[in-house]
């Protein structure tokens, strides 16, 4: 619970949270990169620092593109989730 509160407190202060929770565009790519960095550190995502440096701008760009292009799309509630999953008997 403490960890979850800590995690939420990080998100609350970040523009990333705004993008995720209210579907508003993040205020800037810099804010987004910082929020992702905080998330990586605080949530134990496990991204190495040098990898994060490589990817931060690209990831922030993808977040912005998703905010602009993907998230505003309203999907029918009856639409399925097309992932194949089958229960298997004695196959392990």
């Amino acid at each position: 619970m403490t960890n979850r509160r800590h995690f939420l407190s990080i998100l609350t202060g970040a523009s990333w949270a705004a993008a995720a929770c209210t579907a508003e565009m993040p205020s800037s790519e810099d804010d987004l990169e910082r929020a992702l960095q905080d998330l990586n550190r605080a949530a134990g995502v496990g991204i190495a620092a040098d990898d994060f440096e490589l990817a931060r701008s690209y990831a922030a760009g993808a977040y912005r593109e998703a905010a602009k292009t993907l998230r505003p799309i309203v999907l029918d509630a009856g639409l399925d989730l097309p992932l194949a999953f089958a229960a298997k008997r004695g196959s392990w």
Binding site: G46, D51, F52, L54, A55, Y58, G61, A62, R71
Partner: protein, 468 residues
């Protein structure tokens, strides 16, 4: 002699094998000689399986002498992207991480082709782990045969360059976000990303399980059709494999491979944004289709643009999971190309809700593409809106550097799983090929290939050869 032989199609080769005017050993030797002479400047091959190829070619020649060829691909040289596992042959995934990886079993697609006599010449270079633009192979870049200062497209880079360079009659590629169609277009050959599930991915190193496809690439559509037939079919080892009947693709190409009376759809969402030079070439191709008797209908795919970011999120997240162990160990991470680490790292940050939404969007796009195709045989689109970049330079669109999820028309094929082929439709002012993309309904590759063949046979683009 050598140049003539290496540029014969699979159809021509088999015809000459049958009549006895040529034999598979001579053809394999001609290709191996040309690989030795030409490939050092192109870097299409990571591994050449010379002795094995000659041995298989000799066995094939014996079958022809006995009047009992195994199939319509018996003795035909092919090469596989080095992401298809090959038993007792190095399989690197284009990565230094794979430089000692020698599988004990071959990928199903390779097994199926070898079982019916096709002769594997070797393993082809690719962008590391079949990722996208900006990535490099751990074995150096493949250069474009038309101008070696330019890239050959990706991720099936060697698979695109080898056929047009006369180094292999047919090649195998994989396509998760355009990786068969992009190098086919950049190198001026034909290729098809079949319907999801049509060709087994068992033994193919995954990039993204729900988007990966495998398919053939060659200088002619008919060769593509012939090899697609030999590779296709249900495989219980691939959870995504489809238990659908496999038609005779080549027969369909022969009987339906004309344009007169056909209808093709064009959607504005798949025609822009685009470099003016590319648009001019593709619009000319569309005018050609109409002048050859095909009828154009205009349609719309309202959410087509979202396919690009959806594909990015799905590939990123799935690849991040696949490479979790490679990325967690310094000794493996340090061997990976920085651009691959970038893609995989970005994918690790994506939201689960975006992933789920992207998956559900696939059904919307399937519906929209089905509706767009409802009054047409196929849908015609840009293959790639950008001009081929110089090696080491970023992709630009209308003067702006672009990330791959910000543009393009190929991801719709991966997101929907619908088949899409590419054929050459012209050359830009720098002498580099431009491709035309042709979409079809699921499990109707024969209709796509027949239309592509109809276009090909009324143009001369596929007859051009680079000066090597």
């Amino acid at each position: 002699m050598q140049d003539d032989v290496v540029y014969l199609s699979a159809v021509e080769l088999v015809s000459r094998f049958r009549e006895g005017s040529l034999d598979p050993v001579a053809v394999a030797e001609a290709h191996l000689e040309r690989i030795a002479a030409i490939d050092p400047k192109l870097n299409c091959f990571i591994t050449v399986t010379r002795e094995r190829a000659l041995e298989r070619a000799r066995t094939s020649a014996e079958r022809y002498r006995a009047g009992k060829p195994a199939s319509a691909v018996d003795g035909v040289p092919f090469a596989a992207k080095d992401i298809f596992a090959t038993a007792e042959i190095l399989t690197t995934h284009g990565s230094k991480l794979g430089r000692e990886n020698v599988p004990s079993e071959s990928a199903t697609a390779v097994v199926k082709l070898e079982e019916v006599g096709a002769v594997l010449l070797g393993k082809l270079n690719l962008l590391e782990f079949a990722t996208g633009s900006g990535t490099e192979s751990g074995f150096g870049p493949t250069r474009n045969p038309w101008n070696q200062e330019y890239e050959s497209g990706g991720s099936s880079s060697g698979s695109g360059a080898a056929p047009i360079a006369g180094l292999s009659t047919v090649t195998l590629g994989t396509d998760t976000g355009g990786s068969i169609r992009n190098p086919s277009g950049r190198c001026g050959i034909a290729g098809i990303k079949p319907t999801y599930g049509r060709v087994s991915r068992s033994g193919v190193t995954p990039l993204a399980w729900t988007l990966d496809h495998a398919g053939p690439m060659a200088r002619t559509v008919r060769d593509v059709a012939r090899f697609l037939g030999a590779m296709s079919g249900y495989d219980s080892k691939d959870p995504g494999s489809a238990n659908e009947p496999v038609p005779d693709f080549e027969a369909a190409v022969e009987t339906m491979g004309f344009l007169s009376g056909k209808t093709f759809a064009v959607a504005p969402e798949l025609m822009a944004p685009v470099e003016p030079e590319v648009l001019r070439i593709v619009e000319e191709a569309i005018r050609h289709l109409e002048s050859a008797g095909a009828r154009r209908v205009d349609v719309s795919i309202p959410h087509a643009a979202a396919a690009n970011i959806a594909d990015e999120i799905l590939i990123g997240a799935e690849a991040a999971v696949y490479h979790e162990q490679n990325m967690s160990r310094p000794e493996t991470r340090s061997l990976m190309d920085p651009a691959v680490r970038l893609y995989v790292t970005a994918g690790r940050t994506y939201l689960a809700t975006d992933y789920v939404k992207a998956q559900r969007l696939r059904l919307v796009l399937q519906k929209e593409l089905t509706e767009a195709l409802s009054g047409a045989d196929v849908l015609v689109a840009l293959n790639d809106p950008t001009l081929t970049a110089k090696l080491g330079e970023p992709t630009r669109l209308l003067g702006k550097e672009v990330r791959w999820f910000e543009y393009g028309t190929v991801n719709l094929g991966n997101i929907t799983g619908f088949p899409a082929a590419t054929v050459p439709c012209g050359f830009d002012s720098r002498g580099l090929p431009v491709g035309l993309q042709i979409y079809g309904r699921p499990f109707e590759e024969e209709r796509v290939l027949a239309f592509a063949h109809g276009y090909e046979q009324t143009t001369e683009w596929h007859r051009r050869r680079p000066n090597l």
